[in-house]
């Protein structure tokens, strides 16, 4: 057992015993060696289920929305991207900071269980870092109450910052027709399971337009045009608020490169409104969520 797992368990047990939190959200081992799904721990004696390993891929921030009116606090483990998810929810006024206790983990990058399928545990080292971690610029949590490990060499970003938009550049190099064909093919595949929406900390509307198919805004028909309308609407809705945790693309069963769409918008926003990274600071307002009288369009 690694020291981080030991620390997590000890701290969780202590918090639950002292009644400082009502329950803890962390990760546990699944049926297979490469699965470490989320777990909810209510009793100190269950703290031993908690685990930290390279497959703790899920962003746990979103679960705070399930228990907004809890009397008491929730204890939550946060990696770098999870912490940006917390800031997302705070900045969107979805949760109150005093309702949860954050246990930060400086993250060396995690691995996608789907990429480990078929390998034996002896091949553990061969599993590549999750795509979402390759361009991570914030392995250290940007918000926490206690930090469980310290930053160091191991936690440096795995790719130079300049590569953040390389997938976007590849698409920009296409002709408009090629690009249209590319995205049409992707969204033809979409099954509208809404996993990308439900896992996204920026998708925190109380009720989503896509859960109101009688509204007439979007058809329930699973067809390329309707699917693309869903994908585009979601991309615009998280514009300037996407924290780049990459969970949407990770969970998509149909392999739609959702982050390329999100990053294209981030790149455009950076060029139009200046460099901005969502969820890094509560003070810096999202470029599309602020209003300034010195805005060039204000007159």
């Amino acid at each position: 057992m690694n020291t981080l797992t030991e620390k997590m368990r000890a701290l969780a047990r202590e918090l639950l015993e002292k009644g400082e939190v009502k329950y803890i959200i962390g990760w546990e081992k699944g049926s297979l060696w490469y699965q470490s799904p989320p777990v909810f721990i209510d009793r100190p004696e269950d703290a031993g289920r908690l685990i930290w390993d390279e497959f703790c891929v899920n962003n746990l921030a979103k679960y705070l929305l399930d228990d907004k009116y809890l009397e008491g606090r929730v204890g939550l483990f946060v990696k770098g991207c999870d912490a940006r998810g917390i800031n997302r929810l705070l900045q969107d006024r979805q949760v109150e900071r005093d309702k949860f206790y954050l246990m930060g983990i400086v993250c060396p990058g995690v691995k996608d269980p789907r990429q480990a399928a078929g390998l034996s545990i002896e091949q553990r080292e061969e599993v590549p870092l999750a795509a979402k971690c390759l361009y991570c610029a914030h392995p250290e949590p940007v918000v926490y109450d206690v930090l469980l490990n310290e930053a160091g060499e191991a936690y440096r970003p795995k790719r130079p910052a300049g590569e953040r938009f390389e997938d976007v550049a590849a698409l920009e190099a296409m002709s408009p027709d090629e690009r249209y064909e590319f995205w049409a093919r992707q969204y033809q595949r979409c099954i509208r399971c809404y996993a990308c929406r439900n896992v996204c900390p920026a998708c925190n509307c109380r009720e989503c337009i896509f859960d109101r198919s009688q509204s007439g805004w979007v058809g329930k028909r699973m067809a390329g045009s309707e699917n693309a309308f869903y994908g585009l609407t979601r991309a615009w809705h998280v514009a300037g608020r996407c924290i780049e945790c990459g969970e949407c693309e990770r969970v998509c069963p149909m392999g739609i490169p959702i982050m390329t769409l999100n990053k294209k918008i981030i790149k455009e926003l950076n060029e139009l409104f200046g460099e901005y990274e969502a969820g890094v600071s509560l003070e810096a307002e999202p470029p599309l969520g602020r209003y300034r009288t010195d805005d060039p369009d204000f007159s």
């Binding site: 297979l32 909810f40 809404y194 859960d211 329930k220 028909r221 699973m222 067809a223 069963p253």
Partner: protein
């Protein structure tokens, strides 16, 4: 039994594709699914399960039921009848069982769904035996033989760089007869042994236990990590819920049905806003009770085939094998 060299398979598919629209697992942008064969695709026969099950071929994601047109005071309806011949190549034993289960749903108990029936009767099924069990496979727990699929027209095995084919029905024999130049006699025997699944579930008594667990706190526990998306239901080969809606364009429009998911809040929302399954607790409970209690009660079979898709793809690993294990452990008197 007949035989064809592995590299000749595309030629056989080309020959069959002239008889009907042929679907076979192919890679598109890194995702393996049953796609129409045009002779150029990247075959993924022999790899693990497709991401989407083949239910789409009988029960499409979206299908038009009829068209309507209003002119003056008159309303005219036009039925949509699909009669296209389909050939489905490369399904696994688990998916073959799922089709038998969908048959129970759509064709028995006093109502025949004509849309399903037409597609089903127009489809020839060619199954491919598994040589390897994926980490997430547990079909054998449901009495499924990964080495031989049930109710298919042709069974195929991959042996030493060749495919061995055996007809299981008259239609299958006819299909094999369509490409005599490509197939040679294989003789008897020499079939590979079916793989064993590492993952197993013990289903004894599960249905009976669930009949007493509707109000048990178990559901409030296991639902917590569920995100409430519909991924599991759409990737599940036996989930078959649909919605019927219309799309109006002025004086004309279509009535269509499309997949729906019991994991969505809208699924049970009634006129007036009441929702009898208001939270994910009730929705998660329904999904597992449907697979493990309601289906066995109605059809005498479990509504899960152990294909492992939900285990591989659920964003939070809602693991049905663990849930079955959890049900077994519940103390009803506790």
């Amino acid at each position: 039994m007949l035989k064809i060299a592995k590299e000749k398979m595309p030629e056989l598919l080309n020959a069959w594709a002239k008889i009907g629209k042929l679907y076979v697992p192919q890679d598109q942008d890194g995702v393996s699914n049953f796609l129409p064969w045009d002779g150029k695709g990247k075959l993924t026969l022999g790899q693990g399960n497709s991401v989407l099950p083949p239910k789409d071929l009988f029960f499409p994601r979206t299908e038009t039921m009829y068209r309507y047109q209003r002119s003056g005071g008159a309303l005219s309806l036009e039925e949509v009848v699909e009669n296209e011949k389909q050939i489905l190549v490369g399904i696994r034993s688990c998916d073959a069982r799922s089709i038998a289960l969908l048959d129970d749903v759509f064709l028995t108990k006093g109502y025949v769904d004509e849309f399903y029936r037409r597609r089903r009767e127009n489809t020839l099924i060619v199954a491919l035996a598994c040589n390897v069990a994926q980490d997430t496979c547990f079909c054998t727990s449901f009495g499924i033989d990964p080495g031989r699929a049930e109710g298919v027209d042709i069974q195929v095995w991959e042996v030493d760089g060749s495919y061995i084919l055996e007809a299981g029905t008259e239609k299958g024999r006819e299909l094999l007869g369509q490409a005599p130049a490509l197939l040679m006699e294989a003789g008897e025997g020499g079939l590979p042994e079916a793989p064993a699944c590492n993952l197993k579930v013990d289903l004894a008594g599960v249905t009976e236990k669930l009949q007493q667990m509707f109000e048990h706190p178990f559901w409030a526990q296991i639902c917590r990590k569920c995100l409430g998306c519909g991924l599991c239901t759409y990737l599940c080969p036996t989930c078959h819920c649909f919605d019927i809606q219309s799309e109006n364009r002025g004086d004309s429009g279509i009535k269509f049905r499309c997949w729906d998911s019991c994991m969505f809040s809208e699924y049970t929302r009634m006129a007036g806003g009441h929702n009898p399954r208001p939270s994910k607790k009730e929705r998660v409970r329904n999904r597992f009770l449907h697979k493990l209690q309601y289906f066995p009660e109605r059809y005498g079979k479990f509504g899960c085939v152990g294909c492992g898709r939900c285990l591989s793809y659920c964003p939070v690993n809602m693991d049905i094998t663990r849930i079955i294990g959890g049900i077994k452990e519940v103390d009803l008197n506790g």
